[in-house]
Each structure stands twice: as structure tokens, then as C-alpha cells.
Amino acid sequence: MAETTPAATTALPRSPLSHAADRLAAATRASRGAIRLAELPFLTQLTVRLDAKGAAAEAVGLALDLQLPLQPNTVVRSGELTVLWLGPDEWLLVGRPGCEQELEGRVRQAAGEEPVSVVDVSAQRTTLLVSGPRAHDLLAHGCSLDLHPRAFGPGRCAQTTLGRTQVVLVARDEPRAGFWVLVRSTFAGYLADWLLDAATEYV
């Protein structure tokens, strides 16, 4: 690393929605508390694939200090780590930025000889925070799922479409705390534009 060019080493990483941060913040301010829109950039995201009935499931759960959610479209949290059910043998681990390697190591070590796939997808999607009392109304402009707290309360997640792009929705833990919207990074600009347009009547 000694001879690398100074320009590159000092440059900060750029998140997919860094260019939209100002507009998201402005909409949040203008809504006077009705909605809050912000990117939560650089979160660690790992796709973990293993046999839910095999020995690895329990071992990985132990290593992560939680039980991998087996109910479709549910979330389990432990400390800073959130685990999303994405499929019967597929989970998404979401953690604080920068812990990809440590987390992947933990999962692989726990699985041992059992077959497990771990893929770092931290840059594959970025995360949007959509919260505030009107968060649910805002998403309802483009999401066909029933997001009423009776149907989609804390502990729920879903892969679905919002506007014209695919997303992973996560209901945040506290009631009325809104949602995480995980979106493919190259669709994030579109989704930010879409959310800001849909929020026009709330700001």
C-alpha cells in the first residue's frame, strides 16, 4: 500500500445515495416530523445460505447469539445484528458498517464442514430509513403489501416491489419507528426520486 496514489487512499467511500442526501434531509425537515428519509450507508450485509434443518443452522445461530428466523418474512435481532429471512435456506445478515470479514469468518467457522454459502453483498443494496408517523402512508403509494401494523408490525420483513423496483422491507422494532427499505444500489437513485415525489403531499 506504500506506493499507492495519495488521491485514492484519502478519498472517502461514496455511498449510492450520497448525491441525494441533501434532498432527503430537506424533505425530512419540511415534513415537520411527518416523515424521515435518510440513507443508512455501508451497512454490512451478508447472504448466508444453508440447510435450515442441518447442523449448521444451529451452530451459526449460536455463533451469532440468536436463532436464525425460520418463519418466512420475519426478522430476528441480537445486539447490532439483524437477521432477515429471505428464503427457506437463505438469510440476510445486516450489521454495522465494516464488519463483513469478521462476520463472514464467524459464520464459516461455526458451520465448519457443513456446506454453507456466505457472500458479502454489502454494496449490492443500500438501506433507506423511512420513518415518522406517515411512513406507512408514504410506502402505500407504491407497495401492494398490507403494511398496517396489524399485518406488518415489528419482527416482519418482506421482499416485494416499491414503485417499480424490488426492495426488502423491514419493520423496525419499536412501534411507529418506520421501516428499513433495502434497495439494489443501482436502483437507489430511482427509489429516492420516487420517494421524494410520493412525499410531496407530506412536506
Binding site: 500500500m1 506506493e3 499507492t4 496514489t5 488521491a7 485514492a8 487512499t9 478519498a11 467511500p13 461514496r14 455511498s15 449510492p16 448525491h19 455501508f42 447472504t47 445460505r49 418466512p72 418474512n73 428464503g87 427457506p88 435456506d89 437463505e90 456446506p115 454459502s117 456466505v118 457472500v119 458479502d120 453483498v121 454489502s122 454494496a123 449490492q124 443494496r125 402512508d137 402505500a140 403509494h141 407504491g142 407497495c143 401492494s144 403489501l145 398490507d146 398496517h148 418482506a158 421482499q159 416485494t160 416491489t161 414503485g163 417499480r164 439494489r184 444500489s185 443501482t186 436502483f187 437513485g189 430511482y190 427509489l191 426520486d193 420516487w194 415525489d197 410520493a198 410531496t200 403531499e201
Partner: protein, 1085 residues
């Protein structure tokens, strides 16, 4: 929108799924043992039954699992779903067809007698009086002098808010609460249009969305064509003009915003009239999620037109709005009823505000409502009668006249004659007389009209039983009505009148019910079509179900609302219902369509909006048409934008008479969405302009924009196309970019290529089966190009495969095919090869890719990655290395899509801009040139590298592309292999990919140009030899060239062919597709 129950995620909209064809068609154990016929059967033949059919589906936008579903192909109903690998379960029975019309007070439902009994007793708090409210609610004063037909007190208008509007160039006054139609009536204007074919003057005919005549053009604030004046709420500054049957679209972009919202509820009640309000009242207090939608600005429905029980309406509204999960949608027309109780509605949010509409507020909003249960309380439309000259301005539906008087205090005329076949017009006549309108006579076709006639006579109105209207007179307005004994030529009388109120009976508004799949039946007593059975969770209540008695309708509505929420586990409460005083004993209606008598030559209109008469329908039946669907298309009756709301059943009745059959056997035409016209802008919502389709951009997009790139759309991606410098056109820019790259170095953003991580102990086996060539033998650290085919042997995708570890590969796909390839991999893994321990994960966005291309690329890479051994020996062609490039962790591949020495540097997209700028800086001494997709295409075409989807079209094998080398002969099987032994794929006249050199090196052939052998165009049919797939100018070759698919092309190299371009035949020479550096000398630098 159909709901498909994913076995994992539960019911989701069908748009989240992809279809995978017939299930349980396993891939043959050993395709090589099959005959051509057996293999062709596997490839091309599938069942196509009517009824239950087992299919493969995948939850694309959800959990990405493939599963099986049994769908009834005749109803689209999903009968069962099950996971792949499971055997097909016994199919459950289709959803039962049940009666959609619940019992009411007149026909007790044994299941819930208690409730209905309570409901009847409960409502003792109604208006108390039986007589129509003579005084209305409006305040007197103001406007009468300028609005001569304004009732002094009646109407729910706000007389303190006068509004000025302009119609056909004349300025008028109206009030808040008016419709354009009522305001015109109050000003004495009834003629509001001329008819489309005959240009006859036409007047306001109704008071609602069924209006056939008064369809106007709104000019300001924004032009909108073809709106019924009866549904346009008046606002200050409204400018409208009458139309000759057709409107004009705006020529400027609509500045308004449009919106959409999804909502879910336990119960959707359509219509806030008596039955709908009662249904909502029974349901909403339970805590159930209830939505009540009504096209009017306020609830009340028919009560608004009769001015009865408005106190109950108000109380009910207040109670409903206090319920936590209740939502009232005023000004909202539910216009479509689709699968699985999915209903679409349009809410008009700012139209009534005119120029005062706030700009940030969406003008219209489409509600996409998914309801567990639906109560349709959509009311009924009065229908007309076919008598001579029945279209003059001043002829109006009887109840509509009453509505104009009671809702807006607008008098449609001064002196009325009433023409009816049933009791309902008497109520209207008595109320209008009470309002001060002179009702000269009631002409009743029935010989003995009974108790209602006595009441009319007691009020001083002459009743003519057994009579009919046989003619009218007037111009811009009706002046006289001719009456004669029913069916007789003598005994005519004439009445002076400016208003003729008509009632030919009532048609339940069954549009939504019918759209839901519900079946109608003909009710002999009512003489119309009423809802019967339905397979969706819907009930019809009130007049919409054929229940016209008010007390019955209220009870029926409450019961329907209660049943709906009880089915969802809520405990319904008995709502308070108004006391309905006893009414006169009803006399059955007479079923009349064509009124006999009168001058034979006078037109008897059936469809006013289309100018279709009884004579037109007679011509249709005379031409042999026997179905109303056929007479509709022959005469256009029912095809105007009112969709025949007042004329449809009348047309059926007329055709039945003409054919001499019973109307019940003839039926009605089909009801299709939308119930009323909906603008495309509303349907598009915010999916227009830049949001019409997602725009995908790479992490380097802003740099490309800043450096003047023009962009090419590739799927949803914006890819830099070329980077013109000052004054350059595309041709000059691309030639410059090509030259710079071949002679020194260029770089491009290749981040859009699809990338899939394939991981697991069986990853090599899996890729061997998917790709035509061998992947399991690839060494870690190396890269192989691969081609993927469909089972029919045709090329599907291509890309490179990196072996990352023993059990891990990284595959790339073409930009546009990334999602399809991943779905393809998952389909085979999940449905055919579940035993393989492999997982596939999209990592397209996990990496940004910079292609560094040209003879100087190695020097630049070396300067940026001092720790990387870059010599040809250390880092050979088709190898990859992890390295630190410009201080950034990177995976560098030595691959080339141009034939030049080249590298692809993959880094995190978070660091991509830093890498790109470092490359740009390090390359500056060599004149490094950013290039776009066009240059990429030229460079690859010079080398004869095909682009899948441009040079192929799903009918091309690897062998056709001249790539037999990529098709393994060692592997026992792979997808597509068996097809290469089919006679068809071995034909010598298959189209091959070849190069083409136009004789004139400056002639650029248009892509898609056909190729023929003859130098003179022969008479058709002209034998086609193939077509141009790619065509460019080459800097390296100093001329134009093309790639083409040509029959037996490889055997024609050197041959002269002709390309018809416009009027010319351009001579071309067939060449090898590899036109540049055929020896491959430049690859290693």
C-alpha cells in the same frame, strides 16, 4: 390483480411472479437415448387443457423460490400451490358460486333472523315525517334574479358562495354545491350539446354519471374533454363548451400531479346511499377496517336526491368517522372489479377547486383496494323509453329532475308532463309539484296505476292511465307533448310543456358486480336484470340488488355489512336505521321498451349518445344479427363513453321485441371496466417522465455526465454511449475513441455486466451442466469464456467464469440478461437438480468494473498496482488476480472484448470513482480515452465477437456463430447438447455469422437490412439469404463493415451478395467475421 399464494410468503400480487410453464415435465434422464421425435416432444409440446393445470411459477420479486400451482385455466383461479419436489395434491374444489344478494326484510334469512329483526326495530330516529322535505336546507335569498330557475330554498348549495362560470361563451352565476348541469338548469339552460351523427339539439338528461347528452369540454383551468356536466362540480372561473359528441384532447402537457395508493380492508362498501351507509355503519364500529367510497362529494346517495333522512345520513357519517379504522372516500368512483377482490377507484381530489387547486396536491388518485369482502351498494339508474322524438332538450329522467331540485335547488323547467311505466315517477312528480313546479299530467302506460295515482289526483295532477307519449315538439327546448291511449291511433291530446319527465323503470347498477364475474338474472317482476350469483366475496345490497323498497334496502345493507365483518372475526353491532313510514301499496311496473303509436317516420332513440334509433336496431336484426353483442357492434349502441348506462337494457328490450324473443333469453352486453371513463394520466400516476421506468446508474454515472457522455439505454441502465468532444458528431467521436484504444489505451465503465456468485461443493458440476463448455476443469485463478444455451440448443447468454476457489465461481452475464440468467440457474437448481449443493447469489452491484484496454494498459496497471506482477508470464491471458490498485482492494481479470491487451479491474462501487480517477490520471501521459458502448461494439465486431441479443435472436446455435470450439464434446450432457444432434441444427443452410464488406468502403449498411443473391431485384417473393445484425465504421480497417447472419454463410465467404437499401441494391462481399488481427497478435500486448 390476481393473488398467487406463494407457498413461503403467502398471497402476493401476480406481478411478483414469473410463469414457468407446465409442471411435472422432467428433464429426460439421458437425452442422448431419445429419438429426435421424443426429444422434440420434450422441447416443444405441452398440454393445454381447459380446467385445472399444474404449472411452475417463481416468486421473482420475493423469495425467488420455484413452486407449483394448479390453476383453472378457464377461471384463472389458483386451486392449490405446493413446493417443488412435492407430489401434486388432490385439487381442492373451485371457489363455490354463491348468491350475492342477501335476503332482506321481505325474505328472511334463516341464518341471521335475530339481527335483521333488531335492525328493523332499531332505527326509530329517522326524519319522522313521511312527506318529502318541502323546504330543503338551503338559505334563501340571492341569485334568483340572475338564476331564474333557482328554487328559493331547496338544495344543499352554499348560497353565500356565488361562483361565476362560462358556458359556450356566456357568463353565468351558480353556487358552491352546484354541478355544471344544475347551474345551467338554474340559469334556464337545458340544451347542452348537439348529437354526434344527426346534430340534433340535446339537453341535460340525468343528474349523474349515466348522463348521455350533456357531455362537455372543460376549457379552463385545464382542457379536459368529454365530461358529463352532471358530474362536474362547479367552481369559480370554470369555462366549458358544449360538444358535438366528441371532445378535444389538450395539446399542452398536463401540469397536474397524479397519485396512486394501495389500501387493504376487511370491507369495502361501494356507494354511500341508504344500503351502503347501513352496511358501513354495521361494520365500522367493530374495529374492522372499512372503506366506504362514493362518487359524490358527500354521503347520502339517493337520499340527496329525495332530501329524505338527511339527519340520519349526518349522524351516521359522524359515527363512522369516529371509528378508528374507517375511511370515507368522497368523490371516488370505484371503476373496476378484478380478481381476488381487487378493486380500482379514482378519487377526484382537486378538480372541484378549479384554479385554486394546490399545485402540490395530486389532482386525482387511483386507489388500489384489496378487500376481504365487498358490499356493492351502487344503486340503480332510471331508464328511458323509445317513443317518437324522445331526445328533445327538456326530456329528462324523472328521478333526476327531482335530484336537481333537491340537491341544488335547480328547476329543470316550469311545466312538466310525466311519462311512466311504474310507481317511482309519482313520488318524483309529487315532490316536484310540492316544490312549485307545475305538473300538468302523469301519463301512465298501466291501465290501473293504483294508490299512487290516487295520491297524484289528490294533489291536483291529472293522471292518464293506459296512455303513452306519442310525440314531442320543440327546438332548443321542448314545447309540447302529444299523448294517446296506449297502442291506439285515436284520442290524441297535446299538452304544452317545457319538461317531459320519463321513467321506463330502473336498472340496478350491476357493472362492478358483473366485472367481478357475477352472473345476472332477469327479474320478471322488476322487468330488469339483477345480480344473481358470484364467486368472489361480494354481496350486493339495496337498489343494486333489485331491492327498491327503502326499509328493505336499509336492513339488507346492514345485514351485508355485518356478515362481512363477522366473517373476519368481528362482532357486528346493530346500527340505528331511520324509520321509514309506510308507503302506498305498490302496483307492478309494466314492461315497455318501444312505445307504440305516433308518426312512423319520427326517430325513437335508444342510445342518445350514439344516435342509435329503434330503426337502426331493426336494420341490425334485419341483417340477421341475433345477439345484443352483435347488434351493439353493428349499430354502436352502448359503445359511447356513457357505455349505455341508460340505454343498454332498453336496447336489449328493443332487440328482443324485434326478434320476438323474451328479453331474459337475450341478456345484456358485457360490462367491462372502467365503469366511468378514467384518464390515462390518473392510471399512470407518478409512473411518468423520469419515473416511468427505473433508471439504473453505475457508481461512476456522475463522472460520465460531467465529462459530456451521451447515454444509451440498455435495459433499464444508462450506459455511456460515447463522449463527444467539441464539435464532434457521433461518427467522429467513435472513430477517435476506437483509434485511441487500439493505438494506445482507452477505458470504459463495465459495471453493468451481471455478476453471479456460484458457491458450493457441486458448483463445478452445476456450471458444467449449464454452460456448453467445461467449467469444472478451470483452475483457481483462471477465467473461461462460456456460452449458455436453452434446451433447444439456441444461445441464451454468454460471459466469463472466474474460479474463485475450489467450491466457488464468479460468473458474468450480459448486461440485459442478469436477472434472467439468475432465474434460469435457480429454476434448474430448484426444480431439476435439488441434490446439487450449490447456491447462486447476485453480486452485480457488489462490484464496479473498469475495463482498461489497449497496448498501454499493462503499463498503466503496473503503475497503479506496484505489488502486482503484470508480465505476460506472471499474469497471462484469461487469468485473474487479487491486487491493490490505486490503494483499493481489487480483483483484476485479464480478459479482452476487443482483441487488445486488456484488463478488467473490479472494486467496491463505494471506491469506484477513486479508482476511475486514478486510472484517468495514470493514463494521462498516454492520452487515455474514456469510451462508451458504441466503441466497445465496434472493437468487438472487428474481432467477430457476437453480442447475444444483437447478433443472435434465439434461433442461433453456438455452431451458427462459428463457435463450435465452445461446445464440449467430452461432457456426457449439458443443456442444449441433445439438440445439436437434431437434423435441424445440422442443416447446411443454417444462418451463419459472417462479416460483410460493402463494395464501397464508405457505405454504412443499416442494421436489419436484408441480403439477397440477385443483383437485380426479382419479382416477389424474393428469396432472402439473411440480414445485417451489426454495422459500423472501423478506424482500424479504414472502412465500413458489418456482421450478418447468412444462410450457409461460411460457405459463401468471398461471394458477392446484395443488400436492398431504399431503392438501391448495395453490393457486399461475404467475409470471415474476424476482420481485425485474425492471428490474435495483439492480445498479449
Amino acid at each position: 390483480m390476481l393473488l398467487i399464494p406463494c407457498p413461503w410468503c403467502g398471497p402476493r400480487d401476480e406481478s411478483e411472479f414469473h410463469y414457468g410453464g407446465q409442471a411435472h415435465v422432467p428433464y429426460p434422464e439421458d437425452p442422448s437415448t431419445l429419438t429426435d421425435e421424443e426429444w422434440a416432444h420434450y422441447l416443444f409440446f405441452r398440454d393445454n387443457p381447459k380446467g385445472p393445470f399444474a404449472e411452475r411459477w417463481t416468486h421473482t420479486a420475493g423469495c425467488r423460490r420455484w413452486f407449483n400451482a394448479v390453476r383453472d385455466t378457464s377461471t384463472n383461479e389458483i386451486l392449490t400451490v405446493y413446493r417443488t419436489g412435492e407430489t401434486r395434491p388432490e385439487t381442492s374444489e373451485p371457489r363455490p358460486t354463491v348468491s350475492a344478494v342477501s335476503s332482506h326484510a321481505g325474505q328472511h334469512d334463516p341464518a341471521r333472523p335475530a339481527f335483521e329483526g333488531e335492525a328493523v326495530q332499531a332505527g326509530q330516529r329517522g326524519s319522522g315525517g313521511g312527506s318529502p322535505q318541502g323546504t330543503g336546507t338551503g338559505r334563501g335569498g340571492g341569485g334568483e334574479e340572475t338564476q331564474p330557475f333557482r328554487h328559493p330554498t331547496r338544495g344543499r348549495i352554499d348560497r353565500s358562495t356565488p361562483l361565476t362560470f362560462t358556458f359556450d361563451g356566456t357568463e353565468y352565476q351558480g353556487y358552491r354545491g352546484d354541478t355544471l348541469a344544475s347551474a345551467l338548469l338554474a340559469n334556464g339552460v337545458i340544451a347542452a350539446a348537439t348529437s354526434i351523427k344527426l346534430a340534433r339539439p340535446r339537453g341535460i338528461f340525468s343528474a349523474g354519471p349515466e348522463e348521455p347528452n350533456a357531455v362537455v369540454q372543460i376549457e379552463e383551468p385545464f382542457p379536459e374533454p368529454m365530461l358529463p356536466a352532471t358530474t362536474v362540480e362547479l367552481y369559480d372561473g370554470l369555462v366549458a363548451t358544449s360538444l358535438p359528441g366528441q371532445g378535444r384532447l389538450a395539446t399542452t402537457p398536463d401540469p397536474a400531479r397524479y397519485d396512486a395508493v394501495h389500501t387493504h380492508c376487511d370491507l369495502l362498501v361501494v356507494g354511500a346511499g341508504p344500503a351502503g351507509l347501513a352496511a358501513a355503519a354495521a361494520a365500522a364500529s367493530t374495529g374492522a377496517r372499512v372503506v366506504l367510497a362514493d362518487e359524490n362529494p358527500e354521503p347520502g346517495g339517493s337520499f340527496l336526491g329525495t332530501a329524505e333522512h338527511l339527519d340520519w345520513v349526518q349522524q351516521t357519517r359522524e359515527r363512522l368517522e369516529a371509528a378508528s379504522e374507517f375511511r370515507f372516500l368522497p368523490r371516488t368512483t370505484v371503476f373496476g372489479y378484478y380478481d381476488d377482490n381487487h378493486l380500482l377507484a379514482v378519487e377526484r381530489r382537486t378538480n372541484h377547486l378549479g384554479a385554486a387547486a394546490p399545485a402540490h396536491m395530486a389532482r386525482e388518485r387511483v386507489w388500489r383496494i384489496r378487500a376481504r369482502h365487498v358490499v356493492l351498494a351502487t344503486g340503480a339508474h332510471e331508464r328511458s323509453l323509445a317513443f317518437p322524438d324522445n331526445d328533445r332538450p327538456g326530456i329528462m329522467l324523472a328521478a333526476s329532475a327531482r335530484t336537481h331540485v333537491n340537491r341544488q335547488g335547480a328547476l329543470p323547467g316550469r311545466h312538466a308532463v310525466v311519462f311512466t311505466t311504474n310507481d317511482s315517477a309519482y313520488e318524483a312528480a309529487l315532490d316536484l309539484a310540492d316544490a312549485g313546479l307545475g305538473v300538468t299530467a302523469i301519463v301512465d302506460t298501466r291501465p290501473d296505476p293504483g294508490e299512487w295515482a290516487d295520491r297524484a289526483r289528490a294533489a291536483g295532477i291529472e293522471v292518464l292511465p293506459g296512455h303513452a307519449v306519442t310525440g314531442t315538439e320543440g327546438g332548443a327546448r321542448l314545447t309540447a307533448v302529444t299523448v294517446a291511449p296506449y297502442g291506439e291511433a285515436t284520442g290524441r291530446r297535446q299538452f304544452a310543456a317545457d319538461l317531459l319527465l320519463v321513467s321506463g323503470g330502473w336498472n340496478p347498477v350491476a357493472h362492478l358486480f358483473s366485472q367481478s364475474g357475477g352472473k345476472l338474472r332477469h327479474d320478471e317482476a322488476l322487468g330488469t336484470f339483477v345480480p344473481d350469483t358470484c364467486r368472489q366475496a361480494a354481496e350486493v345490497a339495496g337498489a343494486a340488488s333489485g331491492v327498491f323498497d327503502l326499509a328493505d334496502a336499509l336492513v339488507q345493507g346492514a345485514a351485508a355489512g355485518a356478515r362481512a365483518v363477522a366473517a373476519e372475526g368481528y362482532t357486528p353491532r346493530t346500527p340505528s336505521l331511520p324509520h321509514v313510514p309506510p308507503r302506498p301499496t305498490p302496483t307492478p311496473p309494466m314492461h315497455v321498451y318501444v312505445v307504440p303509436g305516433g308518426p312512423a317516420e319520427a326517430p325513437r332513440f335508444v342510445d342518445l349518445q350514439r344516435d342509435v334509433t329503434v330503426a337502426d336496431l331493426a336494420r341490425a336484426t334485419g341483417a340477421g344479427l341475433r345477439s345484443v353483442e352483435h347488434t351493439k357492434r353493428y349499430t354502436t349502441a352502448g359503445t359511447a363513453n356513457d357505455q349505455g348506462k341508460t340505454s343498454g337494457v332498453l336496447a336489449s328490450g328493443v332487440v328482443a321485441e324485434l326478434l320476438g324473443v323474451d328479453i331474459s333469453a337475450l341478456g345484456t352486453t358485457t360490462f367491462r371496466p372502467p365503469y366511468t371513463p378514467v384518464s390515462f394520466a390518473a392510471l399512470a400516476g407518478r409512473d411518468r417522465g423520469t419515473l416511468s421506468d427505473p433508471v439504473r446508474t453505475t457508481a461512476l454515472h456522475e463522472w460520465h455526465v460531467a465529462h459530456g457522455a451521451l447515454f444509451e439505454n440498455v435495459g433499464q441502465w444508462k450506459r455511456p454511449w460515447y463522449y463527444p468532444r467539441d464539435g464532434e458528431d457521433m461518427e467522429a467521436a467513435v472513430l477517435r475513441e476506437c483509434r485511441a484504444t487500439r493505438e494506445s489505451v482507452g477505458f470504459m465503465d463495465a459495471s453493468t455486466l451481471g455478476k453471479i456468485d456460484v458457491q458450493g461443493p457441486d458448483a463445478g458440476v452445476f456450471l458444467d451442466r449449464l454452460y456448453t463448455n467445461m467449467m469444472s476443469t478451470l483452475k483457481v485463478g483462471m477465467v473461461r469464456y462460456g456460452v449458455m444455451c436453452r434446451p433447444d440448443g439456441m444461445v441464451f447468454d454468454d460471459g466469463t467464469v472466474l474460479r474463485v476457489a475450489e467450491d466457488r465461481f464468479l460468473t458474468t452475464t450480459t448486461t440485459g440478461n442478469a436477472a434472467a440468467v439468475l432465474e434460469w440457474m435457480e429454476e434448474w437448481l430448484q426444480t431439476e437438480w435439488p441434490e446439487l449443493r450449490v447456491h447462486c447469489t447476485s453480486v452485480t452491484e457488489q462490484w464496479a468494473t473498469v475495463a482498461l484496454v489497449g497496448p498501454k494498459s499493462r503499463t498503466i496497471l503496473a503503475s497503479l498496482a506496484p505489488g502486482l506482477a503484470v508480465s505476460n508470464e506472471d499474469f497471462p491471458f484469461m487469468a485473474w488476480r487479487d491486487a491493490t490498485v490505486a490503494g483499493i482492494p481489487a480483483r483484476v481479470c485479464r480478459i479482452s472484448f476487443s482483441g487488445e491487451l486488456a484488463y478488467e479491474i473490479n472494486v467496491s462501487p463505494w471506491r469506484a470513482l477513486a479508482l476511475w480517477e486514478a486510472v484517468y490520471e495514470a493514463g494521462a501521459p498516454y492520452g487515455i480515452t474514456p469510451y462508451g458502448t458504441e466503441t466497445m461494439h465496434v472493437l468487438r465486431a472487428e474481432k467477430g465477437y457476437p453480442i447475444i441479443g444483437q447478433d443472435t435472436d434465439g434461433t442461433v446455435t453456438p455452431q451458427d456463430l462459428g463457435m463450435s470450439w465452445v461446445v464440449s464434446k467430452k461432457k456426457r450432457d449439458f443443456i442444449g447438447k441433445r439438440s445439436y444432434a437434431r437434423a435441424d441444427t445440422a442443416r447446411p443452410d443454417r444462418k451463419h455469422l459472417v462479416g460483410l464488406l460493402p463494395e464501397d468502403p464508405g457505405t454504412l449498411l443499416p442494421e436489419g437490412t436484408h441480403l439477397i443473391a440477385a443483383s437485380v431485384l426479382p419479382a416477389p417473393p424474393v428469396p432472402m439469404l439473411g440480414h445485417v445484425t451489426s454495422s459500423y465504421r472501423s478506424a482500424a480497417l479504414g472502412r465500413t463493415f458489418a456482421l450478418a447472419l447468412v444462410k450457409g454463410g461460411r460457405d459463401r465467404i468471398g461471394e458477392r451478395l446484395y443488400a436492398p437499401v431504399g431503392e438501391r441494391l448495395v453490393p457486399v462481399t461475404v467475409a470471415s467475421p474476424v476482420l481485425y488481427d485474425p492471428e490474435g497478435a495483439r492480445r498479449d500486448g
